[in-house]
Amino acid sequence: MDEDTPATPDPGPGIETRRLQAALESRLFGHRAAPTFAGRFEVLGRLGQGAMGTVYRARDPELDRELAVKVLRPGAGTTADTDGTARLRREARALARLSHPNVVEVLDVGVQDGQVFVAMEFVRGRTLAQWAEATPQDVPDRLSRVLGFAIEAAQGLSAAHAADVVHRDVKPQNMLVGDDGRLRLADFGLARGTLDDSLSAEVSTTGGDVPEHVTLSSTGMVVGTPAYMSPEQFEGRFDERSDQFSLCVSFWEAAFGPRPFPGATVHELIASVVAQRVRMPSSRDPDTRWFASVLKRGLAENPSDRHASMAALAEALAEGPPSSRKPWLLWGTGAATLACGALAVAAASAAAPPQRCATVAEPADAVWTEKRSELLSAAPALWEPIDRYVQSWVGIRKTSCEAAWRNDAPAVDQLDPTMRCLQRRLDQLDVFLAAVVARGTVEPSDELANVVRAWPSPQTCTHSDAVRAEFTLPADPALAQQVRLLERDLMEDTVRETVDPATVSHARSSELVQRARRIGHEPLLSLALEHLGERQILARDVAAAQTLTEASQIAARLGLFRAAVRASTSAASAFAVVENRHEDAERSLREAEALLQRVDEPRTAEQVELTYVRASSFLAQGRAADAAESLQAQLRNEHRPLDEARLREALGSALAKLGRYDESIATSSRAAELYRLKLGPDHHVVASALNAIALVEMERGNPNAAIAGFTEVRRIVSKLVGEQHPIFAGVEGNLGTAYMALGDRDRAEVAHRHALEVFDATLGEADPQRSVARVHVAAFLPPQEAEVMLNQALALAEEHSGADSVPATSARSSLGELYLHQKRFERAEAALRRSLEHHERFQRKLRVAFDQASLARALALQDKLVEARPLAEKALTTAEELLSADAPELIGPLFAAAVAHRDQPERARAWLTRALALPNVASMQKTTHEDATAFLSNLDG
């Protein structure tokens, strides 16, 4: 049935119309309509539609085989357009001559009812676009499949170009992936238009989206798909290199997901291309990066910057990713050859000079396995310093490589150590990453980032003297090999320790030192000694200082000054912390400072460490003021957060010892904040810092703040080690004491009981904490049980810590109080005398006062008033000096004074009244309060 008569000559219903009508009639009315033909081919069904026309499934009745027929839409080669048709036929003929496995075969071209059609090989399968969408990114080998397709596409296009045919519309929708796995290019040259220089492409857009096609002004013909079009195509210029551009965009998309150039509208897209704003794939896998770099070249704005030809691109792709090639690391030891492996390889392949050093980055790339990239992508704080390190490494490597090729190349004996140095720097990264992966997590990433930042920069490999000293190998090859092995083992040990301290063993460190001595290679010996010394410090081994001093001396002799500084500082730490030899510690520190002058910037890390060790030494000597001063001086400089935190923590400790509590808390709080920020709120270092602050709050007489602090510490500790752990019990104990100071007996009892429970469950008898905990709990028990508990405490303490130890004295003191309350004055006197003696010896003034007061009471109640009175007076004087006027603890000395002067009832009553009026005294000094009340009523009565 014809359409209604139009104004232009009607060619009659087109193929699509007839096919559609026939199909509908068949569906609606059940009868088989007459078949539609395009030439001799019977049209069976629609396969799809593109901008150019419709593709049908068809049948060749003559040869009885299936094929595809593309019917071009009117305008894209109607018989009215004789030029266009002629051109099309010419091209079809060219393509028909071309028989290439990666190009869809053209079988025939003809005209049917005024419409041009092309008969093609029928490819069962799907487009590359469909394949890419259906294949998720995490399918293994996906990249290599895409690479395979890319090579096939490039080869097909290369063959077409050789036959003078340009595609013009390369895109994933135009590439067919057959069920047989082979890729074929389709729709060649069918997007034609007349392209004079005077024409410019006009873009028709719908809704602002990147459109499917672009039309030319005068002819209204489509000439490409903007998302894949090269910039010159937009201007109407086109050659084979435009196909290259489109191909690279297509495969970029297929491999990585998004297209390389961003842009929601055509204008944005063109701007991105001109500015070469490429969206690099995020993966750090070296194969991915290689693929991206090959494709990227084809995306250059200027066609001359792309690969020289489609064939060149195919070759570059076919060369394959780095992982498939043999390792290139060949460190030559002979003087005759250049030591650098890549240079040897480059010399063999006659690449153009700028490209000789192009492969230098590859060993660095090889460090990035998928597992490592994946793990690190979650931690930008760690990734950043590593990336910088790698960039620096590649930069130095490249410079060295290029220098070697120029005439001013350094002599081989200078180059070899540099290369070895670089190799070690890289190996260090490799071992580090392996250790991180083995650990399974990158947290806390800031700590690990600090480790990375502390590494010597790859830059140092160019400092010829130092490098030569450290990295020159012995001439004897067997010896050289041993050195290399030792170097690797030592480095593995050192790096693994920084990542996971638990994995390193003392024995192994010693063994490494022995090996170094046997070989006689001094640089490694120095490093091995340093490593061993660190382990010895942790083990509190007195040999540490000597080991580290030797390490420092050797390093200094070799001119490796940074290492010497490190070793000297550690030696100082060993002297101070392990042996309490503070003068020697100071001497080592001065040596370190002198050596530090000979080290290049940056020096801050070493300076921080120096200050820290010095301050620790001062504190251990009781020189808190000196410690505070040196720490404050160092804090005037800028520091990285974790370094600042460490310094502040130490400063807080020093200030607390000086009684400058407010300042101490301020600076320690800042340290805790920094730790929390960088290590996370649940890190043990944060807990330690908060604990220290809370203890200071207790000293300051601020139990509320202390409770808040201990509570947070408790939360963290519970999370880290659980509640059945002595550290947790320790925190509970602290909380108990704090609650007591606040007057909350109930909570205090719960805490102390819990602490005791856990201590008993997790510690051996010898641990003093079990004794101390008993003393605390006894305060909540009725007298008889309290006595039992306190005797237990005393027995434990005497047996394991000594009769005169702090826990023993504490137990005795409490027992004395108990006996006093029970009116067992003789026993009380005995216990209290011993306790007083201990406290006097250690100048615990307040404790002395309390013991004096209790003893005075005991004596007075035995009528030994002569001795009792002076004691009571001394006690009260001291207590009033040291305590504030309303401290509940004053009740003891006041009561003692009253008892000792009970023959002067007015005075006695005055003291007692005052004592009983003290705030919180009933709850905080329960038994004493009871006794004092009873005494007062006796007086009155």
Binding site: L20, L24, H31, G75, G207, S217
Partner: protein, 200 residues
């Protein structure tokens, strides 16, 4: 009369006479196809045409005695179009299918290819996709199918007076849309272009 023929054919088709249906189909296939072609992608056209014709048979009550068959047919077509748009837009969470407001372009339903030999035709077709679907239908029915005012009113389910007003306004909107798409200095004859386009 042709109109009687159509109605008779429909009755006979509804009674089970496939030949009658086939004849009716052949008469109106092209019109229905034109209706859908500029509004949906080619993959959908076949299905929608089928549904439209099937709809003729199945919807007994909608056929008012005083309306022409073509009107009836276009009304069903428009209904099918609306259902199609609604199902698609709800899937894609885009603009709600309100044919009186949204355009084909805005709903992202643009056919992937445009059938045009000359740029003017392409411009027209694209401009039509920019106005609301109802306005597009109105203009197309008016220009291509030569439906009368009252007939268009039936299809769009509005009054005849409203058709007059809307036609005037729709022409203006279309002109605006065309101007936006045109090159400066280019001229455009809507009547001529519409006329020739009909034949494609």
């Amino acid at each position: 009369m042709a109109e009687d023929d159509d109605r008779t054919l429909l009755e006979r088709w509804r009674a089970g006479d496939a030949e009658a249906g086939n004849a009716l189909f052949r008469s109106h296939f092209a019109s229905v196809r034109r209706f859908f072609r500029n509004k949906v992608s080619p993959d959908e056209v076949e299905d929608l045409i089928q549904r439209t014709f099937v709809g003729c048979v199945e919807s007994q009550e909608r056929f008012r005695e005083d309306a022409s068959f073509r009107t009836f047919l276009f009304a069903i077509a428009r209904n099918q179009l609306f259902k199609f748009f609604r199902s698609r837009t709800s899937q894609r969470n885009q603009v709600d299918a309100d044919l009186g407001v949204s355009s084909v372009a805005a709903m992202g339903m643009t056919p992937s290819s445009v059938v045009a030999a000359r740029q003017e035709h392409e411009l027209l077709l694209m401009a039509l996709q920019q106005v609301s679907v109802d306005d597009q239908t109105l203009l197309e029915l008016f220009y291509w199918e030569a439906l009368s005012g009252p007939e268009i009113a039936t299809v769009l389910d509005i009054s005849a007076g409203a058709v007059r007003v809307r036609l005037h306004r729709a022409r203006g909107k279309l002109q605006d849309a065309i101007e936006k798409l045109m090159n400066p200095g280019q001229s455009f004859d809507l009547e001529a272009a519409a006329g020739t386009l009909r034949g494609l």
